[in-house]
Every structure is written in structure tokens, then in C-alpha cells.
């Protein structure tokens, strides 16, 4: 009788998770997820009583927010149901065959898609030069060619290029790429490659001032007035701006001189009216609550600027936006953290 004791210590049984690297999702796994998502979408549409065929992503978001209400402040921590492509990070498929030979000829550069993109662009440049030569030979060389409209768009950022290529590139690489694209643009007949170039440009927003202008209403006496709200740091203000021709301001039933004895607060109230140049023209009747005197003055200022939008021309609206009168001040009281006295202040540091 012989037997061997093979005792293996328990530490060997634990897998070394750190060495495995980021989790790889196989293509079949992702396909299965997509299938499940589609089926789940139809179930959700049924549950909500809507048509499964015309159930868009916005409807999905709305339904999930209704079914799983969450009070978490971090929006990214709330329950989400999105297409697997948006959830699972894009990963490159296995780039070598069963024998270990890579498919792509630039695999050993380390950034195969980036360099292949550079090669493509250069190919196009060469093709354009050949086209130009051909036209010159035929005698059809025209100096005025259709130019691509580039206003209102910008080059993709480095992060966006990385997302497109599913690879990490350095700043230097990004600069090289942009230079190459510029060279492509500078050649005549670049309109032939317009579609390719526009893939790498992003449209900017058309008008940056999208403000809701409150409607002008008319009093029984025929006086125009408008109503607007404003907020600043827990203070909420709501005002009625009347075009009566006197400069009275009443806040919470009291004269503004009594409500704001501090000059600074009254200056805040004056700022929007003075900026537009209509100081003595309007009557302001406002109510404000919450927070302190400075925040209340800021809330009133925002409310007055918003109400003024309906009395003021387009150019003035843009000027007010640039002056910062229409932006709501996002600063709020910072949260107190555990282990500290306040938001930033730490406890007394003792060396030992």
C-alpha cells in the first residue's frame, strides 16, 4: 500500500485577481446582453402600457425613474437601463489568430488603429495630388474649388479620438493627427474627401444664449408687466416688473431702503436696471424668502434680469448674458465631511 499525501496550502487556492487584468467581455457575451436588453425593453413597454415598437431611450429613462425612485445625489449611481454598447466599455477583439500571428500589419507598433488612420489620411493626400496632376494635364485645373464649411464646428478632442480608435494616444500623437488633417484641408479638391473629414469634426451649439423670455402681460390699466423668478443659495425670489414710469421698489411689502439697509445689497438690485439703462422706468414688486441678505439680493437680481428680458432687445440680451446677469450662481454651501470640523477645516493636527 502506498499513498502520497499531497497537501496544498490554502493560499494557493485563492486566485490572484490583480494579475488577471481588466475583465474581458467576449463578443458572444455582449450579443447575449443586447438580446436581453431588447427583450427587457419590450417587457418594460408592456408594463408601462405603451407600444413596444415605438419605445425610445427617453421613455426607458422615464419609466426606470418612475419604477425605481432614487434619492441619491450622484446621478451616475442611480439605476440605469441602457443599451449594452453604452454600458460595457468598448474593447478590441482578439487581434491575433490561433497560431499567435496578428491580423493587422501595424500590430507591433502598439497603436495599430492610430497609425492605420494616419496611413489612410496620407493615402488620401496622395490620391488628391494625383487627381490634381490629372486635371492639370487635361487643362481643367481651376483654382477656385468648393471649400468645405468649417465654421460652427471644431476638431474632435483627444478623448473623443481615443474613444473612436479604442486606443490610448499621447498628446503628441493627437497633434500630429490634427496637423495631417489640416494639410489635407489645405489642398485643393479637398471637397472630395468632405465626408471623411466631417467624421472628425464636431458641430458646436448654434446659439449659446437659449433663455426663456417671460411673457409680457398687460394690466387692466394697460400697464405692461412681467413676472420672473430667481434663486441663489436657498433664497427664492419672485418679482413683478411693471412699466409704470416710477422707480419704486417694494420687497415683501416693505420699501427696499428698509429691507436692505446695506448699500451693497441695493447696488446688486441696481445692477441689471443700470446696465440696460432703464433705472427710473420700472416699478418692482417682489417677495423673497430664505437664506441671508446677500443671497436674497442675488436672487432678486437674477429675477429682475430675467424679467427685463421681455422689455429689452436681442443685442442687449446677449450683452446681459455676457455680463453674467442671467447665469444662476451655482455656488452652494459645501457639505461637511466626517473626520473634519467643517467642509475644509480639519481637526487640530497633533504630531504625536
Amino acid at each position: 500500500l502506498f499513498f502520497r499525501h499531497i497537501c496544498v496550502s490554502s493560499s494557493l487556492w485563492k486566485k490572484n485577481l490583480a494579475a488577471a487584468g481588466p475583465q474581458k467581455f467576449t463578443q458572444e457575451f455582449i450579443d447575449k446582453q443586447v438580446e436581453e436588453f431588447e427583450i427587457g425593453k419590450r417587457h418594460l413597454a408592456n408594463m408601462m402600457g405603451e407600444d413596444p415598437e415605438t419605445f425610445t431611450q427617453e421613455d426607458i429613462d422615464r419609466s426606470i425613474a418612475y419604477l425605481f425612485p432614487s434619492g441619491l445625489f450622484e446621478k451616475r449611481a442611480r439605476p440605469v437601463m441602457k443599451h449594452p454598447e453604452e454600458i460595457f466599455p468598448k474593447q478590441t477583439a482578439i487581434q491575433w489568430d490561433a497560431e499567435g500571428r496578428p491580423f493587422h500589419f501595424l500590430f507591433y507598433t502598439g497603436q495599430q488603429s492610430y497609425y492605420s488612420l494616419l496611413h489612410d489620411v496620407y493615402e488620401k493626400i496622395l490620391a488628391m495630388e494625383r487627381h490634381q496632376d490629372k486635371m492639370r494635364n487635361k487643362g481643367l485645373l481651376t483654382s477656385e474649388t468648393k471649400q468645405i464649411l468649417l465654421t460652427g464646428s471644431r476638431w474632435l478632442l483627444k478623448e473623443e479620438i481615443e474613444e473612436y480608435l479604442v486606443e490610448n494616444i499621447s498628446d503628441h500623437d493627437y497633434m500630429r493627427l490634427i496637423q495631417l488633417m489640416e494639410k489635407l484641408l489645405s489642398m485643393p479638391y479637398c471637397s472630395l474627401e468632405e465626408e471623411f473629414i466631417l467624421k472628425f469634426r464636431k458641430q458646436l451649439e448654434v446659439q449659446s444664449s437659449k433663455h426663456e423670455i417671460p411673457a409680457l402681460q398687460y394690466d387692466p390699466q394697460g400697464v405692461t408687466f412681467s413676472v420672473a423668478d430667481g434663486r441663489r443659495k436657498t433664497a427664492k425670489a419672485s418679482i413683478t416688473l411693471r412699466d409704470s414710469g416710477s422707480g419704486n421698489i417694494t420687497i415683501n411689502g416693505r420699501n427696499y431702503l428698509h429691507y436692505f439697509p446695506l448699500l451693497q445689497d441695493r447696488e446688486q438690485l441696481m445692477f441689471p436696471l443700470h446696465f440696460v439703462g432703464m433705472l427710473g422706468r420700472f416699478d418692482v414688486e417682489g417677495s423673497v424668502e430664505g437664506s441671508g441678505h446677500s443671497a436674497q439680493a442675488g436672487a432678486l437680481r437674477l429675477a429682475i434680469s430675467r424679467a427685463l428680458l421681455s422689455f429689452v432687445s436681442e443685442g442687449d440680451v446677449e450683452k446681459m448674458r455676457q455680463a453674467g446677469l442671467l447665469t444662476a450662481d451655482p455656488r452652494i454651501k459645501e457639505r461637511k465631511k466626517p473626520g473634519q470640523e467643517g467642509a475644509r477645516k480639519k481637526f487640530t493636527w497633533k504630531k504625536r
Partner: protein, 402 residues
């Protein structure tokens, strides 16, 4: 920046100084001449100024215009009387200019028409903070002075009910408290204001101060006042005695040499019936009734004498334990005060209207007080209107650093 301000302030005032010196050196005879010369110099900028120096002649056509207080009058009449910020302004501009406003004109017209054989009418100037109650009171008092009345002026009754360093138990009455410093200070100022009357009025009874000191009957008032000024201990009682004498003799009740009219002007009347911030030795709060000065003043406020007028103004700024929003007589005087002061003639003082604001603005411009170049433009004026809401004191503070 300060140097620039100083230099621009000094230049116009140098010429002013010379003019005043010229007037003062030749005494009163030149005052009448000065009036004429001022009226014959048509200065186009002084739309907001009037050359009428005597409040008797001020009328509606002078509303909104500034008139200069003659310096001699300022020294005599207001040794302590004018509001401190106005005194600073006087020192800066080297002249005291007061604006003629409708409430004062109303008050002066009442004073002109009143019947002085009957008990005195009580006038209360009330209004929001900083609208010009104390200034109006001073203006009306100037009128009384130019008419030759005897002036009893308490610039701020609140000063007597708070921040008193020495509170002595009264020598004459056991439950009362004296304030020697305030009393003697007031007696000194009273002496400066009413010098002419001190020798004319005689005491009607004997007053005994201590075992060794007493004032006999028939002594001129000046002796009584000196007694109070010299002997601090009994100064509060002297004040009481003086007030009593004046009450008895105003309007010629007794056979004194010529009747005189008595003007009692108290600023901050609500102090008499409010609370004090003074504590007794056993750390309980003092009632205003227990202070000799206040007690005597309250007696003056009653209309059981004749031959004069009681001009008062309410004041929230110095008042104790009253909210800032209170400005009506019923709120500030309290129940007790209101009952005591009733019946009275209320005169309301409000913020500047358009014309008055205009003249105040022009006055500051003329004095080079608004240093900022933007202050001279129309827009700057609109900004000033907005920020101050035409409140006189706020406008003054605002312009102080422009």
C-alpha cells in the same frame, strides 16, 4: 486720492473763509448789508440758494432752497444742538446751510398764528429714519430765536437715559437719581443760548441747596444757573428749578420785566417715556421717572403753563428697545407717552421730493462734494436717486465717499 480730495476741498473754501471773516469782523451792522449784496449778485448756479436768512420770511416759494445760518447765530443758538453729521458737514463746507422744507414751513406758520395767552401747543415731528426731523426742529428753533424767544433746547433726550457714568442718589429726594455731568453741561449751553434773559428773569422763591448754600428770592436767573454750573452735586435740582421758574414766568404770569415767550424744544421725546439702560446699585433697571432730569422735563411737557410752544421730534436711532421699523408716534412714545402728550399737533417729515433732491444734488455739486466725474452726469444722478431712494441721510452718507 485723499490728497486730491483735500486740495479740491480747500480751494473753494478759501474764498468762502475770507467772505465770512469780512462779515464777522464788522458785527451785525454788516449782516443787513450782506443780505442786500447777496441778493444783488445774481449767481446763475444758486437756483437752490436763497439769500433770506431769517426764517420769518421763508415761504412756499423758498421750498427746496438752501439758506445759510448766520455763524453768529450758530455759535449762540446751537452750541450742542445740531445733529453731529451736520456739524461735520458744516466744518467741511465752512458754512451751515439748511434746506427749507414744507413741514417746517407748516410748523412756523402754526407758531405765527398761535395764541400765546393759552396753554402751549405741542408739536411732534415724526417720520422715517433719516428724513430730517432733527434738522427741521433746528430750523424752527432758529425762527424762535430770531423772534427773540427764550430757548430751552434738549438736543437729544436719549443721551440722558443711557451711557451715564455717574448716577448719584438725589440730595433732595431719596428715591430719585441725579446726573450731574449731563445737567451741568446742559446748563452751560443754556447759559450761552439765553444770555440776554439771564439778568432779566428773577426767581420767585428761595431755593436751599445745602446747609450753607441757598438762592434767595428775587435773584436773577443767571445766579441760579451759575450755582448749577459750579456745584455739580446739585446741578440736576438746579435744572428743575430753572425749568419751574421759566414755566411760571413765561407769558408774563407774574409781574416780571416784560413777558417773554418760551420755546421748549426736545429731540428724541420718546426717551422720556421709554426705558433706560441705566442700572441702580442693586442692579435693577432704572425707570425714567426716577431720574430727576427726566422727571422735570416731563413736567415741562404738560400744558399747564402758558406763553410758549413745545416743539418735539421723535427719534428711533437713539431709542432703546424699539424696533427699527417703528416711526409713528403711537409706536415710539408708547401708551404712557402718548397719553401724556395728547393732544398734540403731528407734523410728518418725509423723504425728499424731486425738487428737493435736485437742489440737494446741485448744492453738493457746487461745493465740489461729488468728486467722481460720473457723479456729474445724468446717469450718475439716476443712480444716486435709486441707491438712496431720496432719503436725506442716506444720500449724504452716499455722497460722502463718492
Amino acid at each position: 486720492m485723499n490728497l486730491h480730495k483735500l486740495s479740491s476741498r480747500l480751494c473753494p473754501t478759501v474764498t468762502q473763509k475770507f467772505r465770512h471773516l469780512h462779515i464777522q469782523s464788522s458785527g451785525q451792522q454788516l449782516e443787513a448789508v450782506a443780505m442786500e449784496t447777496e441778493s444783488t449778485e445774481p449767481n446763475p448756479l444758486s437756483v437752490f440758494r436763497t439769500s433770506e436768512q431769517y426764517p420769518t420770511y421763508h415761504s412756499e416759494r423758498h421750498t427746496g432752497q438752501y439758506y445759510t445760518l448766520p455763524p453768529a447765530h450758530i455759535q449762540k443758538l446751537f452750541p450742542h444742538g445740531l445733529p453731529p453729521r451736520f456739524q461735520l458737514q458744516m466744518k467741511t463746507f465752512n458754512e451751515g446751510c439748511v434746506m427749507v422744507r414744507p413741514p417746517v414751513l407748516e410748523l412756523i406758520s402754526y407758531l405765527k398764528k398761535a395764541d400765546y395767552s393759552k396753554p402751549p401747543l405741542r408739536y411732534i415731528l415724526y417720520g422715517d429714519i433719516g428724513t430730517g426731523k432733527s434738522m427741521s426742529l433746528s430750523h424752527a428753533l432758529h425762527y424762535c430765536y430770531t423772534q427773540g424767544w427764550l430757548i430751552v433746547h434738549i438736543p437729544d433726550a436719549h443721551l440722558w437715559v443711557k451711557n451715564c457714568k455717574e448716577l448719584l442718589p438725589s440730595s433732595s429726594r431719596p428715591s430719585r437719581f441725579d446726573q450731574p455731568i449731563q445737567a451741568s453741561q446742559w446748563l452751560k449751553n443754556f447759559k450761552i443760548t439765553n444770555e440776554g434773559f439771564l439778568s432779566k428773569i428773577k426767581t420767585t422763591q428761595q431755593y436751599v441747596w445745602t446747609k450753607r448754600e441757598s438762592t434767595e428770592k428775587g435773584q436773577p436767573l443767571g445766579v441760579l444757573v451759575d450755582q448749577g454750573v459750579n456745584r455739580m452735586k446739585s446741578s440736576s435740582d438746579v435744572v428743575g428749578a430753572v425749568l419751574r421758574e421759566l414755566r411760571l414766568q413765561a407769558g408774563g404770569a407774574t409781574e416780571g420785566e416784560g413777558a417773554f415767550k418760551l420755546a421748549v424744544a426736545v429731540d428724541g421725546v420718546n426717551a422720556l417715556w421709554g426705558k433706560t439702560s441705566l442700572k441702580k446699585e442693586d442692579r435693577t433697571m432704572c425707570e425714567p421717572e426716577e431720574l430727576t432730569l427726566i422727571h422735570n422735563l416731563r413736567k415741562m411737557m404738560k400744558n399747564n403753563w402758558s406763553g410758549g410752544a413745545i416743539l418735539t421730534a421723535l427719534s428711533q436711532t437713539g431709542s432703546l428697545f424699539k424696533p427699527q421699523s417703528a416711526y409713528l408716534p403711537s409706536e415710539l412714545l408708547g401708551e404712557e407717552g402718548f397719553d401724556n402728550m395728547e393732544p398734540f399737533v403731528p407734523v410728518s417729515v418725509s423723504n425728499y421730493n424731486e425738487k428737493e433732491f435736485e437742489s440737494c444734488y446741485l448744492y453738493y455739486l457746487e461745493r465740489n462734494w461729488l468728486q467722481h466725474p460720473h457723479g456729474r452726469s445724468e446717469e450718475g444722478k439716476k443712480e444716486l436717486i435709486f441707491l438712496s431712494n431720496k432719503n436725506p441721510s442716506i444720500l449724504e452718507r452716499l455722497c460722502a465717499f463718492l
